[in-house]
Symmetry: C2
Subunit: 410 residues, 2 copies
């Protein structure tokens, strides 16, 4: 077991508050929002901590800045890290703000948008390495060789103290706070928040959430040492960490009240719901807390407020668009059907009329005439429809069948 | 010219403040956010007023509630209006909160999601009428017949006083406020904000923005009486109002410092940018202020803060997804090309290698073998690529041409 530095072995709320307050020039106190529709659906008082509205789009700026404030800037040739996303952007942003050079090793396959964002914040990007892990190792080696300061994305006492700022803020923002649901990747955010809140009030419960497709912290907590999983497969790339940290694992074990997992379908559903109802863009990692509440993996507190931390919003817009389209189909609000109509005037019009009567909207119609098995007097029609959900879809199919249409999948 | 009621002819900031404060139990004080990237790109200090985070997803709740608070609830059989969207939801929400029955006439073609939202807030929905205008007229008639209170979406002194709450809040939230950019549909929000802010400080400039495809207020202000335009065609359905109000038009003329238009491409660009960079979902109407700043239609104040009011976020998620995809293509970040490779082992691999060297990501590849005009030794390939933008795309095309590939549009 790694020995914890004193600040983490015997943390004090005053010290964490001081770290938080020292960064108030660059870090936003992000708003909290009650959500009546989520509260109703989940059966508790749900509050969202909109950390996706943080500068650089995620909580990572808190830890990066706390770390940079802890090092000797004069004697430092610059900072270096390996990352595919949020940590890279945040470190570049924080370093530029303090006038420190910053280099980031990013995987060859890193999204162009994320590479550009790091460059826009003045960071030097070196592409190379298969994945994040090899980039982190490369950065650690380079730091030693070139006298730069290596900044680990999560396994660092100063970084963890920085992330605890989310908890420090929640303690002041949410009266009657009873439970907090936090995404867990490497574990820096979750342990930071848990420490701050438990010091504030030991009765506040803190529950971690991982993506089912990359639940290394869950596995590691089972066996009480860091386990490295082989394959990460989840839409929540921000928490797709294959091995929790040597510092963070014992902290998670000590401070969390529980940890659960959610699958990608639940994560996509939460992302779309947050965009549709709450008008907030979240990345997959940022939506896992809401996913856990909506699926029942986490029960809200029976009295008092339950907070879901929306940890970040850095999602490629294209991925968000794909998530919306996928969700519409999953929810059976967008339905493709195929049927046949008489190949004579009014044939299609009658079908469309029957669909309109059933209350569905028609999004797309295409005629398919040249299928060999069709009666020559009929023409095949593919339709994409919008319904109110699975029940309405079933009703629609029954209505069309009753009207004499043979309905297949489109 | 319609005579203005006394509250609008001689408005007082104290009275507007009182309206605002009376609704603080149901209306959120929405956050303001500085945006460094917008500020940099636009060349001024840009602040966003996130009214899309308002309850019911738009500012409309402010006016609806102010109106309901002004009527005699005891003697009222209920409230009724005609609307396709935000006003309907807001009135239903406000009416339920005060225990008043609410009926909304919605166009036959209204989006299912909006109909469902009104019902979810306890409103009775009657579908019928071709467009919003006929629904509004229907509601006005029904109100007379059935002794219900008709609530106009914008042309009502109490509604306008309610919308002024956005201005009341801005006066307190933004130090050194110099300019405010506000969407204009019917004109209720813009005139309300302008009145509150000019009473607060006559030097604050207030500029209205309309969608080019439905600029009835612009035309009407030119000729100093309400003009009805025939066709509304814009993605910004929330401000697609074909005729400004009898009350609002003189108010816009008196209180606005200017009014401009933006086209749908600019609106889509602003929506996507707000989602990508600021993590806020806006509807088209909510994004026109940012569109006006990004296109230069409105110059930011040279010193002090310029606020863009994000008036609402009620966009069909599918429309948001479509906007993202359209914007990617407009920005030439998503490019479709078509070329040919030798139909032999390694032919495609060489092409993909050349593309990777040019730094583009490959999103989709499809082989098209059966085109008649192809040399039999070659196979046609369609590719969808992600680039960093137009310059990078041009570079990529030049690189492929230099490597011997004949590149066409995909």
């Amino acid at each position: 077991m790694t020995e914890l530095p004193e600040t983490l072995a015997n943390p004090s709320l005053e010290a964490l508050r001081a770290v938080h307050d020292a960064s108030s020039d660059l870090v936003r106190e992000t708003p909290t929002m009650t959500s009546r529709s989520l509260s109703r659906d989940v059966g508790g008082e749900i509050v969202l901590k909109a950390e996706n509205l943080q500068r650089t789009g995620s909580f990572k700026i808190r830890g990066a800045l706390a770390k940079l404030r802890s090092i000797d800037v004069e004697g430092c040739a610059g900072v270096v890290t390996g990352s595919a996303g949020n940590h890279a952007q945040s470190l570049a942003y924080a370093a530029r703000s303090l006038g420190i050079p910053c280099r980031v090793y990013m995987p060859q396959a890193a999204a162009i948008g994320k590479v550009e964002a790091v460059r826009a914040f003045g960071g030097e990007v070196v592409r190379g390495g298969e994945g994040v892990d090899s980039c982190v190792n490369l950065a650690r080696d380079v730091a030693l060789e070139e006298g730069m300061e290596f900044v680990h994305p999560f396994d660092d006492a100063d970084v963890i103290a920085g992330q605890s700022g989310v908890g420090v803020e929640l303690a002041g923002q949410v009266p009657d706070l009873r439970k907090v649901v936090v995404p867990v990747g490497g574990g820096g955010l979750a342990s930071g928040i848990a420490i701050a809140l438990k010091l504030h009030d030991p009765d506040v419960e803190v529950i971690g959430v991982q993506a089912e497709g990359c639940a290394a912290a869950v596995e590691s907590m089972d066996v009480h040492h860091p386990v490295e999983i082989e394959q990460a497969s989840t839409i929540a790339d921000g928490i797709a960490v294959k091995r929790p940290g040597n510092l963070t694992l014992p902290l998670l074990e000590r401070w969390l009240d529980g940890i659960v997992t959610v699958d990608d379908e639940a994560i996509v559903g939460a992302m779309v719901r947050l965009a549709e109802r709450t008008k907030l863009v979240t990345e997959g990692a940022g939506a896992v807390g809401v996913a856990a509440l909506l699926t029942g993996a986490v029960e809200p507190a029976s009295t008092g407020a339950t907070v879901a931390v929306l940890s970040g919003g850095n999602v490629d817009p294209r991925l968000l668009a794909a998530a919306i389209n996928r969700h519409e189909i999953t929810e059976s609000r967008r339905v493709r059907i195929s049927t046949r109509v008489p190949d004579s005037p009014g044939g299609l019009a009658d079908l469309l009329q029957a669909i309109a009567l059933a209350g569905a909207n028609i999004l797309e119609v295409s005629h398919v005439r040249d299928l060999a098995d069709l009666d020559l007097s009929q023409t095949s029609v593919d339709l994409t429809l919008e319904t109110r959900g699975p029940d309405h879809t079933a009703e629609l199919r029954a209505g069309l069948a009753a009207a004499g249409y043979e309905v297949g999948e489109g």
